[in-house]
Every structure is written in C-alpha cells, then in structure tokens.
C-alpha cells in the first residue's frame, strides 16, 4: 500500500514538473513576442510622428538631419502601409529641398567667385590709375573700369573705421569721382569691402575700406 502511494506521488510530481516547464516556456515566448510587437508599434508611431513633422515643416531639423532621419526609418524596414506612404511623400519633399539648397549654394559660390574676380580687377585698376604715367593713361583705365558699373553715378561708400556692429564712413561719393580722386591723389588707399550687382551683372553699389 505504502509503495503504491509513493509511486502515485512520484507520477504526480513528474506530471507537475512537466506541465510547469511547458507553461514557463510558453510564457517566455509570449513575452518576447509582446515585446517585439511593442517595439514595432513604438517604431511605427515614432516614424509616423517624425515623417508627419518633416512633411508639415514642424521640425527645426536641418535638411541633413531630416535626410538622416528618413534613412534611419527606412533602415527599420517597418513594412507598414502608412509609413511607406509617408516615406514616399517625405522623400519627394526632401528631394525638392535638396535641389533648392544645392542651387542656392551653387548661386552663392558663383556670386563669391564673381565678387572675387571683380575685387581683383578693381584692385588692379585702382593701382593702375594711381600709378599711371600720364593723365591720358589714367583716363583710359578709368573708362575701362567704369564699364563694370551700372553708371558713373553708382554710389561708393568708404569705411574709415569699423566699430562693434557698425561702420563709420567718409562722405559718400560716386564711382566716377572716386576713380578721378585716385588719379588726382596718385594713391589707392582703399580696398574692396563689398560689391552689389544689378540683374545685368553690373556693379550698382561699391563699399571700400581703408587699407
């Protein structure tokens, strides 16, 4: 009798152990699945939020930061219809912004190049006028230089002193008077500080600074 009871208890124990182990394994898998689902949902939510913010210009990110964000979301490979649709729209928007930014940078570089070229030409011509061996030679360079300007009356500003946040100027003059001044005084004591152009590429404002 005692032996039967012992056997029954052993069998019961084995059943409990087996059943308990199976339940624990199933619980771990469920937890892992739930965690993965939660992570996926969190990523989808985040992606939708970020993509909508980019689409509606509700973020302070730079274009580069926005592009990096889109790349991260694409790398998640969420395979979510809403996210895919938003990605499509955002990529189109960022492509437009990139093209616009590249164009602006190209235009700015061209302006810089043009300004540097004009700067060099003006500097060289000022020096040629100041050091001309005759009035007629100086006048020839003056006429050549005036060709770069919208008119002989283009204003010329001369900075005599730069202060914190503002400039002190000499009395404004015109390019024709300034070039003749360089000829008369036989000195080119100023260098180009800033040049502004009209739509035809002619200089319409010149700012000089004392060397």
């Amino acid at each position: 009798m005692k032996s039967r009871i012992t056997t029954a208890l052993m069998v019961l124990l084995a059943v409990f152990i087996t059943l308990g182990g199976t339940t624990s394994c199933k619980s771990k898998k469920r937890l892992a699945r739930e965690a993965a689902e939660a992570e996926y949902k969190s990523k989808v939510d985040q992606a939708v939020k970020d993509l909508n913010a980019i689409l509606n210009d509700e973020t302070l990110w730079s274009l580069e930061e926005k592009e990096a964000r889109v790349k991260t979301i694409k790398d998640w490979n969420l395979q979510n219809a809403e996210v895919d649709d938003l990605l499509f729209q955002v990529e189109k928007k960022l492509a437009r912004e990139r093209a616009q930014k590249d164009e602006e940078e190209r235009r700015a570089a061209a302006e810089r190049e043009k300004a540097n070229a004009a700067d060099a030409v003006l500097g060289r011509n000022f020096s040629s006028i100041a050091n001309a061996s005759s009035v007629s030679q100086a006048n020839r360079v003056i006429n050549e230089t005036l060709g770069l300007f919208e008119s002989p009356n283009v204003p010329v500003l001369i900075i005599i002193k730069q202060n914190a946040g503002f400039n002190d100027y000499d009395r404004p003059t015109t390019i024709e008077k300034y070039l003749n001044y360089v000829k008369d005084q036989k000195k080119a004591a100023e260098k180009v500080f800033d040049i502004k152009y009209n739509a035809n590429g002619k200089i319409n404002e010149l700012e000089l600074i004392k060397k």
Partner: protein
C-alpha cells in the same frame, strides 16, 4: 535737504550719461582726426595740380570742382606775397582761378608739416572743430627756367567734422562729413 541732494545727484547722473553717450571713443576720434588731415592733404594735391602749367584746362576745372567740395560754401582762402603786407581773401573758386592765371611759366607748390594746432573739439551742436596748420612753399619760374619768386607761408585751416546720415540703396548710412573752413595766412617769409 537730503531729498534735494538725492534729486540733484540723480539729475547729474542722467545729464552726465547723456553727454557720455554723445562722446565718441578714442579709436573713432582718431579715425576722424586722420580723415580731416587727409582732406587737407588732398587739398594740397589739388592746389598742386591746378597750379601746374602742364595741367590741361578741362582737368584743372574738374579738379577745382572737387576742391570746392572740400570746403564750406562761404569759406575763403588767404593769399599773401613778400612784396606787400596785404592779405587778400578769395572765395575758393576765385582762389583756384587766380592760381591758374599766375604769371609764371612754371609753378611749384609744396605743402609740408601738416598738423593739428588745435585738436578737434566737440561743440554743443555736435560738430567737431579743430585747426590744422600747414606750411606752403611757392616757387615761380620764368620761361628760361629761372626762379623769379619764392616764399613760404604758414596757413591755418579750420576744419569742421559733423556726423550726418544719408539713404543709399534703402539703407541709412551714417558718415562723418569733413568740411574745410577759412584758410588764414599766419606768416609769410622768403625762406
């Protein structure tokens, strides 16, 4: 009594700070000092160009226009000679026209020792006024190239510097307007 003293102190502080705001710092003052001196040096070049018999008439007239712009509208320039104690004062354009017509075949005019005798001082209306002295050596030659006249004159030029504003390209530009006043003869010698 304490209230009166406190009020006075506050008033003095406010007035003092107002004056302090109108003053310009040393570096800016130096910049306008140099600008005024430069205008006087520019004038010396203009006198030399107009006085030269080699300067074409059209060039001389253009230079006279530029020289006139350096001066206040009613400014006068004093002219002296060794042969007379009289000093004649001409309006700027008249002075330059007189200079163009001098009866020499060649003229040399040199300015030197150009310096402040009275520093630019701020006046109640905000204008800075100073006096710059110059020494001018004049030499006149005949057609054989002989020196027929020479003198050295010390002259004082009053300079006025005022802060003004103008609109250029939609911007307000603050600038220092330097204008020369009378040029007075102080002394003429045969050195």
């Amino acid at each position: 009594m304490k209230k009166i003293i406190a009020t006075l102190v506050i008033v003095m502080c406010v007035v003092g700070s107002t004056f302090a705001q109108d003053e310009i710092d040393y570096a800016r003052k130096q910049a306008i000092d140099s600008l005024a001196l430069e205008k006087v040096r520019d004038l010396s070049k203009y006198i030399k160009i107009v006085g030269s018999k080699e300067t074409p008439f059209s060039e001389a007239n253009r230079v006279i226009d530029r020289a006139e712009e350096l001066f206040m509208s009613d400014a006068e320039i004093g002219v002296s000679s060794l042969g007379s104690n009289k000093i004649t004062y001409y309006r700027v354009r008249k002075y330059f026209e007189h200079l163009m017509r001098l009866n020499y075949d060649r003229v040399e005019i040199e300015w030197y020792n150009i310096e402040y005798v009275s520093d630019l001082q701020r006046q109640p209306d905000g204008t800075y006024v100073g006096v710059i002295t110059i020494f001018q050596t004049f030499r006149g030659y005949d057609k054989e190239g002989n020196l027929t006249y020479k003198d050295t004159t010390k002259k004082d030029i009053t300079v006025y510097v005022k802060r003004k504003e103008t609109q250029i390209g939609g911007r307000t530009i603050g600038f220092w307007d330097v204008l020369l006043g009378d040029m007075r003869v102080k002394e003429t010698t045969n050195r």
